[in-house]
Amino acid sequence: MKRNTLMLLVGMVIIASMVLAACQPTPAPATEAPVVEEPVVEEPTMAPEEPEEPVVEEPTAEPTPEPVRTTRHGGWLDEIVISVVDSDSAITQIQAGAIDIFAAGLSSDALPEIEAAGLEYAQSNGLYYELTFNTYGPIFDQSTGKVNPFSESKAREALNWLIDRDYINREVYNGGALAKFWSIVTNMPDYTKVAETVRRLEAKYAYNPETAKAQMDEVMAGIEGVTIEDGKYMFGGEQVQLIFLIRNDSDKTRIPIGDYVANQLESIGFAVDRQYKTSSEASPIWVGGNVADGLWHLYTGAWSATIIDRDEGDNFEFYDTPQSAYGFSSTWQSFDSALGTPYGDLADKLAYNKFDTIEERNAALAEMLEMALTESFHVWIVDGKNFTPYREGVQVTYDLAAGVDGSQIWPYTIRLADQEGGQLKWGAPDLFVDPWNPIAGSNWAFDQAIGRATWGEAYMYDPHTGLIWPQRFDRAEITIKEGLPVGKTLDWVDLSFEPEIVVPEDAIVDWDAENQAFITAAEKFPDGTTALVKSVVYYPADLFETVKWHDGSPLDLGDFIYAWIIALDMGKEASPIYDEAYAPNAEAILANYKGFKILSENPLTIEAYSDTYQTDAEIDITTMWPSFSYGEAPWHILANAARADEAGELAFSADKADAKSTDTTSVEWFSQIGGPSLEILSTWLDTSIEEGYIPYADVLSAYITPEEAAARYENAKAFFAEYGHYNIGTGPYILSEVYLTEKVGTLIPFADHPDLSDKWARFGAPKVAAVELDGEGSVVLGGEFSFDVMVTFEGEAYPADEIKEVKGLLYDATGQIVKVIDGVLVEDGYYTITVPADVAASMEAGASKIEAVVVPYTVAIPSFVAFEFVTVK
C-alpha cells in the first residue's frame, strides 16, 4: 500500500514538474500565418522626403569615422547560414550558440529578457497602436437604437485625457515604446520640425481623467434621452454600453491595452462589451461592415512604418478622411472630414504638398496636429519599438525604422568584430515562404532580407536619416519647377530651379506593346508637355567593366532598357505577357512619368522627367537600375521567364498563375530559386541559345548583340549548374545553397563585387546625440539668464557641422511654452540658450522648465532633455 502511494506521488510529481517546466515559454501554435493587417512592405521605398529650405545649401552629413581599409570585396563574411528559428526560443538559441542573430524584431516585452541574457540588440520601429472609432450617430437609428457617443468629436477627444499613455508603455511594453498622440511617428523628422507644437499639445492632452469625465458628461448630457445617474450614463433605462472590438492576435499586446481602455471607460460611467477577436473576425465588422449597424463603437488598431518617412504629411488624409485609400470602408466614409471641410482640405494640402514654402507647409502641419486631436478620428496610444537581438561580437548597421532585416545596408556591414571572414548563423522566423522573382515574387520580410544580400541597387538608403547615397552612380543634377518646396542636404546632388521644364520631343515616355516600340513625347504629347522634375544621373566611366552579375555577365545598358520595358509591357493588354494584377503598377508608373533620354551610353548618363516629386532632392533622382519591387535581375533571366510566361508555362504573379491554371493544366508561379520553374527556365535558355534570341529585338538589338546574348545564356546555365537556382544579382553575396523544405540557405561573398567590403563602414551606430542641460537652479525674473547645452556622442563633442539645430522650449510655472529660443554655438558640442530679459519678465514665477531639442543631420532621431528651475519675482 505504501509502495502504491509512493508510486502515485512519484507520478504526480513528474506531471507537476512537466507542467511547470512547460509553462515557462509558451509555444506559438502557428508562427507563419501571414498577419493580414500588418503587411510588410520590403521594397526600398522612394517615400522619404523632408521639406527643406529650397535654396539653402547645407553641409554634407558625412557619418564618419574614418573607415579601416581592406582589400576584400563583397560581404565581410565567408558564409552566412540561414535557418528558421521560433521567435519564442530565439534568445535562448543565441545564448546557446545555435544562432548568432535573430533577424526579426522582437516586441518591447522581450527587451528585459534580451538585456538579462547580455545580448546586443538593434532598435527599430515596431507597430504603433491606436483606437479607431465608429463615428455614426449619436443614435444607431437604423439598427440597434443604441447610443454612440463617439459620433461627437468631443467624446473622442476626451479619450486623450482618459488614457495614460505612459502607464500603457510601462505596463505593456516595459517602457520600450514611446507615447504617441498623432499618426506621425514620435521623434521622427516631422515630429521634430514642429517640436514646439507637439510639446505644447502633449502637455495639453496629458492624462487627466477628471477632464475626460467632465467633457464626456457634457457630451452625454447633450444627447437626447441620455441621463447621468450615480455617475453612470443611462439611456432607455439601461446603462449605455460600448461595444469594444479588442484584437487578441498579432503580438497580443492589444489585449491589455483594450482591457485598460475598457476599464477607464467603465470608470467614467459606461458599460463595455469587450469582444476579443482576431484580425479576420474583426475585419468584416470594422472595415467591411456598415457603421450604421451599431455592431461596434471602438476598435484596437495597429499599423506599422518600416521606413524613415521624411514627409508624413499624407498620413492625415490616409487615416482620417474619406479620401483615404480606405475610403471604401463605411468607417472612413463616416468621418466628417471630406474635401470641403477644414480638416479634409488641410489634409489634402499636406498629402500633396500644395505649398510654396517650407514655412507654409510646417505651419499647416502644426495646425493639422491640433485639429487631429480636436477631431480624434483615432486616438493614438504608443509607438512600439522592435528589438533585434544578436550576440556580442557581431557588428551590423541597422535602419532606425526597419531594423536589421528590413534594412538595405545590413549585408554590406554585418561582420564579426575586428575580423574579416568567418561564419555567421542567421535565424529568422521563416524562409522561402513564397517564390522569389523580382517582379511579383515573395513579399515576405524573411525572404526579402536574404534577397537583399544578393541584389544590388544604384543607391544606398541612409539607415539613419532616410536620405540616399550614390552606390553605382557618381552624381546627379535635379531641376525643379520654381515654387515647389524642395531642398537638398547632401553634396552629391546639384539642385536648381527653372520656371518651366519642357520635356524634349525625343524623350521616351511610354511603351507600345502591340508594335513593340517606344513611344516618344512627341507621339504621346503632340502639343508638347512639361514636367515638374528633371533628373540627370551620371554613372562612372567604368560602370560596365566593374559591375558584374553573379553569373559573371557584365552589367550593360540592355539591363537598364529591358527593365524599363518589361515594367510597362506587363501592364499593357496588347502584350503577350499582360498580367491583369500587375496592370495597376504600370498605370501608377505612367501616371506621373514624363520620359527619359540616354544622354550618353558610356559613360552612362540618363536624363528623366517626372511630375512626381519629394521635398528632398536626393530622392527625386531616376536611376533606371534593373531592380524591381521584389528584387534585381538581369535581362537574360527575365527574358526567358517572360518567354515561359508567354507560352503559358510560368507566370510572374500568383494571380496570373491562378487565372491561367485550369483543372487539367497548372501554370506555375515563377520562382528563381526552386520548383518546376527551374526546369522550365533551363529549357527556355536552351531554346534561346539555339535561336539566338534577343528580347524586344526591334529595340534591344541596338544594345545587345547575338554573341552577348548567347554568352549570357551560357553564363546563366553555368551558374545554375553550380548553385542550382537562377537568383542572379549584383549584390555582395551569392545565394549559395537553397533547401526549400528544410528552410536552410547559405550565402557566400561575391568575390567580383565592385566595392571593397568597407564601403559603408562609416555607418556605425546611429549618432543619436547625448545631451546635458545645465543652468542656475533658481532664477530671479527680470534679467536675462542662460543655460548650457553639452552635446556629445560616445563621450566626444558632437561636431557642429553635423548639428542641424539646437533650440530651447521655455515653460513657465503654468506648464505653457512661453518662448522657443535658438541655441547659440560656442564650440563643437557646446551651445548656450539665453532667455532674454523681456521674456523673463513676462513669465509666471514658480517651478519652471527649459527643454533643449537637438536635431542632428546624421540621424533622424532628435534628442530632448529638460532642466527644471525655480523662478522668483
Binding site: V10, A30, A98, F328
Partner: protein, 376 residues
C-alpha cells in the same frame, strides 16, 4: 466410377453453390459497405468544406482582409504616393476586385462547395488560395507531397516504436501483474495526460539549451552536410527530440492499456484451463491470449498507419518540423479551403479503405467472424 460420380456430383454442386453464395454474399456486402463508406466520406468532406468556410461567413472575412491588404499595399507603394486620391481609389478597387475574382469569392459558396466536393472526390486537389509549396507551386498535391516525407518520418518512427515497444512491454508486464515494474507503470501512466509538445519544450530546454547536445528544432543542420551519410545522421539527430516527445507522451498509458487488455484475456476460462493442463506459458500467450486479441491489435495498428499521415500539429510547430500538421494548421488559419479539403480527403479515403479492409482481415484472423452474415 459411375457410382463415385453419382456420389460426388451433389457434393461438388453443393460446394459450388456454397462458393457462389459466399461470393455473392461478399460481393453484396462489399457493395453495400463501399457505398455506405462513400456516402460517409461525401458527408464528411462536405461538412469539412462548410465548416472550413464557416457556412459562408469566411467569404466576408476574406473580402474584408483583401480590402485591407490591397489598400495597405497600395498606400505603401511609393509609385502611388503622389497619385490623386480618385485614381488611387479606382486602382485600389480594381485590384480588390481582381483578387476577389481570383479567389472565386464572386461566386456563391454553394456553387464553390459543389466544385470543391467534386474535385476532392476525384482527387483533383486543385490549387491553394494562399499557401505555396516550398518549391513555389500552389498545387495542393505538391504542397502535400512535399511535406509528406517528413511527416511520415516523424510520425512513422515515433508511432511504430511506440506501438511495438508498448505492445511487447505490456505483454511482458501482464505476466508480472502486481510487480514493482507493473506498479511503476501504473503510477506513471497519468504522465500521458501531458501533451507531447509539453515534453518537447522540456526536452528542448534540457538537451538543446542546457546540455547543448541536440538541436533546438528543424530537420537538418545548417549548413547542410555535403555527403549523404552526414545528412542522414543529421536528420536522425533532429528526429530524436520530436520523436521522443511523441513517444513519451503516450508511452506509459499505452503500456497500461495494452497490459490491462492482455490481463482481461489472461483471465478467460480457456486460459485458466490451458494453464491447468500445464501448457507452457509461451504457448498460452501465443495461442490463447494473442490470437483472440489479434483483431484489436490489427485495428489499432491499421489506425496507427493512418494517423501517421496526419502529422502532429503543435509538436511539429514547436520543433519547426516541416510536416503536414503544420501546413494543415496554417491552412486552417488562412481559411485555405483547397488545402484543408486536400488533407482531409486523403485521410478520409485512407480511413474508409482501412475500415473496409479491416472487415475482411477480421474474417481472416478470427474464425468467429463471417462477412455479410447479420452484420458480422
Amino acid at each position: 466410377m459411375g457410382s463415385d460420380v453419382e456420389v460426388i456430383t451433389p457434393k461438388v454442386e453443393k460446394q459450388k453453390s456454397g462458393l457462389v453464395n459466399t461470393l455473392s454474399r461478399v460481393m453484396k456486402y462489399s457493395g453495400v459497405r463501399l457505398l455506405s463508406l462513400f456516402i460517409t466520406v461525401v458527408i464528411g468532406i462536405y461538412l469539412t468544406i462548410m465548416i472550413a468556410n464557416m457556412g459562408g461567413y469566411v467569404d466576408q472575412m476574406m473580402k474584408a482582409a483583401i480590402q485591407e491588404n490591397v489598400t495597405m499595399q497600395i498606400s505603401r507603394n511609393p509609385a502611388f504616393k503622389n497619385m490623386d486620391s480618385a485614381t488611387k481609389t479606382q486602382l485600389t478597387q480594381e485590384r480588390i476586385q481582381s483578387e476577389i475574382e481570383r479567389l472565386d469569392l464572386d461566386q456563391p459558396l454553394v456553387i464553390r462547395s459543389g466544385r470543391f466536393l467534386k474535385n476532392a472526390l476525384t482527387l483533383n486537389l486543385g490549387r491553394s488560395l494562399f499557401l505555396s509549396s516550398n518549391s513555389g507551386s500552389r498545387n495542393v498535391k505538391t504542397i502535400i507531397l512535399e511535406r509528406l516525407p517528413y511527416t511520415l518520418l516523424l510520425m512513422g518512427t515515433s508511432q511504430l516504436i511506440l506501438f511495438v515497444s508498448t505492445l511487447f512491454l505490456a505483454l511482458s508486464l501482464s505476466r508480472k501483474y502486481g510487480s514493482f515494474v507493473d506498479k511503476l507503470v501504473i503510477a506513471l501512466s497519468p504522465t500521458s495526460s501531458v501533451p507531447p509538445w509539453f515534453y518537447g519544450i522540456f526536452f528542448i530546454l534540457l538537451f538543446a539549451a542546457v546540455l547543448k547536445i541536440l538541436p533546438f528544432g528543424g530537420v537538418i543542420d545548417a549548413p547542410v552536410p555535403k555527403d549523404f551519410l552526414g545528412r542522414a545522421l543529421s536528420v536522425g539527430k533532429h528526429l530524436i527530440l520530436p520523436a521522443s516527445s511523441l513517444i513519451l507522451a503516450s508511452f506509459f498509458l499505452s503500456i497500461y492499456n495494452w497490459r490491462t487488455f492482455f490481463l482481461i484475456y489472461s483471465s478467460e476460462d480457456y486460459v485458466e484451463t490451458a494453464k491447468a493442463k500445464g501448457l507452457p506459458s509461451r504457448d498460452i500467450e501465443r495461442r490463447y491470449i494473442l490470437r483472440p486479441t489479434l483483431p484489436t491489435i490489427i485495428t489499432s495498428f491499421a489506425l496507427l498507419l493512418i494517423t501517421i499521415w496526419t502529422g502532429a500539429i503543435i509538436t511539429e510547430t514547436v520543433f519547426q518540423w516541416p510536416g503536414l500538421g503544420r501546413i494543415t494548421y496554417q491552412a486552417i488559419g488562412l481559411y485555405d479551403t483547397p488545402v484543408i479539403v486536400g488533407t482531409t480527403i486523403i485521410y478520409a479515403y485512407l480511413l474508409a479503405i482501412t475500415v473496409f479492409l479491416l472487415d475482411f482481415i477480421y474474417a481472416l484472423v478470427d474464425p468467429r467472424v463471417k462477412i455479410g452474415t447479420g452484420g458480422n
